[in-house]
């Protein structure tokens, strides 16, 4: 089996046109994409159907059952207030996956727009890239920490903060591939025919430069879930009583030794989501853009 490879950087788009036609089919055949898709799919379905899969509320306290270990009635056990961890993890999935998805979506929209604009208009390029460089000079998590601290902790601040942190690499990625595409002959052909900037950007540059961004976004999705957990753990994330995987762990950490199930199950949620998204991203990368690997 000829396997995907580290095409050296300069191998770039040699193979691109033919590859792109069959993206879907190849994704479907890609082993790690299959596994990733399955994991993320199961988690997403669980999050969407959450309320139907449980007959209690995440905040309902079963005072007589505090610190119950996993058992038939409480599949994942209960916490210090007697709340059902299974229910809380399900509802937490809604929050955590939503944060991840929203961050990836915002990073995607801004990354694409700013990246394509920076590549198309020399006049904007300097300003956009300077700003991105400035943002990228802070570690993402520190930047997010600062922003949530400034905005006040809430789910929306987490989303805004993480988006700000993850937009710049997206802009860079899109700009880099848009710069390649912009020099290609089919764009020149459109220019010769008199096409104006919007047509060039929307019809030619954009569709041919977002492949690498999609790959990146699947990783952003995973990072955002992790980062939300980290922020919640530090107390500036999604605020209780709304459960997120991060704050369930944060609340349970003091009891981790006696009541390991409080932190274990949301932890498994985070791991499965991150692993799933990474596998998905690997698949996308192999299929869309083999040169990025290695």
């Amino acid at each position: 089996m000829i396997e995907a490879s580290t095409v050296p950087e300069f191998a770039a788009t040699t193979l691109a046109p033919r590859q792109r036609s069959m993206i879907l089919r190849r994704l479907v055949a890609h082993r790690s994409f299959q596994i990733g898709f399955f994991l993320v799919g199961v988690l997403a379905i669980a999050a969407v159907l959450g309320p139907m899969l449980t007959n209690t509320k995440p905040s309902a306290m079963h005072i007589s059952h505090r610190f119950s270990p996993p058992q038939a009635k409480f599949l994942f056990g209960t916490d210090m207030f007697g709340r059902d961890i299974f229910t809380r993890v399900l509802y937490g999935a809604r929050v955590s996956l939503w944060v991840g998805f929203a961050v990836a979506a915002i990073a995607g929209v801004f990354g694409t727009t700013l990246g394509v604009l920076a590549a198309q208009f020399r006049s904007l390029e300097g300003a956009i890239m300077r700003l991105m460089d400035a943002l990228m000079s802070f570690p993402a998590i520190l930047l997010a920490l600062g922003i949530t601290a400034a905005l006040g902790p809430s789910m929306n601040s987490v989303i805004i903060a993480l988006s700000v942190a993850y937009v710049p690499p997206g802009v860079r990625i899109v700009r880099a591939s848009a710069l390649v595409v912009r020099e290609l002959d089919y764009v020149q052909a459109a220019l010769i025919a008199g096409a104006r900037a919007p047509r060039i950007m929307l019809r030619h540059i954009l569709p041919n430069s977002i492949g690498p961004l999609l790959v990146h976004l699947s990783f952003v999705f995973a990072y955002a879930i992790l980062a939300e957990a980290a922020l919640s753990f530090l107390g500036v994330g999604v605020q209780p009583p709304t459960p997120s995987w991060g704050n369930i762990i944060a609340e349970g950490r003091d009891y981790a030794l006696q009541a390991w199930w409080i932190v274990l199950f949301p932890g498994i949620g985070i791991s499965l989501a991150t692993i799933g998204l990474n596998l998905l991203g690997d698949g996308l990368r192999d299929v869309l853009d083999p040169k990025l690997k290695g």
């Binding site: 036609s21 002959d185 020149q188 459109a190 010769i192 008199g194």
Partner: protein
């Protein structure tokens, strides 16, 4: 009413400079074209050959409006596209000039169906109804010898030669009068080269097209061009009728070029290549820019740059070997 004219393209003293230097340094301008002057008649093919990096593609890109020259004038079908009314005049002739690219893999957007790529110039010009447009696409496909149902397929489903036909179909979509072909057959095998060159010649016969045909393969140029211009380091060093150029190359660089042609004959020992360094654009050689490598160099060549002079009807050379006689005359 547009000025009608026997010449499609008139280029006078065309110069082009690019800002040079990497990031952070103060840009110096590097001149890549020096006072080019030539015409292309209607239904004529001018072959353009010369050193890699001598500015051939730059000339082609200027003629179709992708680059704005820094000096000199260009008239297309009698309209100046370099003067004051540049934009308006260019808009008026836009649909009459087209470009065929070297690399058929890069010339078509991989995500767009072939039919839409071919129709793109029509869409941008916005002149046709959807129906007319689709008819036109089918007609063009037939013209370049592709099945009609090709319109619904994607570029990756075609071989290099077929893709080059699609690129030609797109170039013909608005019935242009002048097409710049920048190495249109370099990427193709001999048999496919022949088919494309023959197609271009047929189209010229049918529609009276003019071509600027840029190529490295001298045998292909010989087949298609009526006149040939030879460039070296940003200047035209010789223009001659096809037959004259091959039979009797005058400029020393042209001779070197013809001598260096690879021949499909393993028993033949190829003459040594031109000695000396490829000229720098930053610090171009004084006088004749070929003097550092020329086997016939004379003292005068180092000081004085030769002008492109007509030494016989239809034959221009820029070399002191041929100006000597003229200048000694009273």
């Amino acid at each position: 009413m547009p000025v009608t004219s026997e010449t499609s393209v008139e280029v006078r003293d065309l110069t082009m400079s690019f800002g040079s230097g990497g990031a952070g340094r103060r840009p110096t301008m590097v001149q890549v074209l020096h006072d080019l002057t030539f015409d292309i008649g209607s239904a004529e093919t001018l072959g353009l050959v010369g050193e890699s990096g001598s500015g051939k593609s730059t000339v082609g890109r200027i003629l179709v409006g992708l680059l704005k020259p820094t000096g000199g004038s260009v008239r297309l079908f009698g309209r100046s596209v370099t003067g004051a009314d540049r934009a308006a005049n260019f808009a008026a002739v836009r649909s009459r000039v087209q470009f065929v690219f070297q690399d058929p893999h890069a010339a078509l957007n991989p995500r767009i169906r072939v039919g839409h790529s071919i129709a793109e110039p029509i869409d941008i010009a916005g002149k046709h109804s959807r129906r007319d447009r689709d008819d036109r696409v089918r007609q063009l496909l037939e013209l370049v010898g592709l099945p009609r149902d090709s319109a619904d397929r994607f570029p990756h489903e075609f071989s290099g030669g077929q893709r080059q036909r699609i690129v030609i179909a797109r170039a013909l979509s608005l019935s242009p009068d002048f097409v710049v072909c920048d190495e249109p057959v370099s990427a193709l095998d001999v048999s496919m080269q022949a088919q494309i060159v023959n197609l271009l010649m047929d189209l010229q016969d049918r529609f009276g097209l003019s071509y600027l045909f840029i190529a490295h393969d001298m045998t292909v140029v010989r087949a298609i061009a009526r006149r040939v211009a030879v460039m070296y380091a940003g200047s035209i060093v010789e223009i001659a009728r096809n037959a004259d150029l091959y039979a009797d190359p005058l400029h020393p660089y042209t001779r070197a070029l013809l001598d260096a042609m690879p021949r499909p004959d393993p028993t033949r020992i190829r003459p040594r290549t031109i000695p000396g360094e490829v000229p720098s654009l930053l610090a171009p050689p004084s006088g004749c820019r070929f003097h550092t490598r020329c086997p016939h160099v004379m003292p005068r060549c180092r000081d004085e740059s030769p002008r492109l002079l007509e030494i016989a009807p239809g034959r221009q050379v820029a070399c002191h070997l041929f100006t000597a006689a003229e200048t000694t005359e009273p």
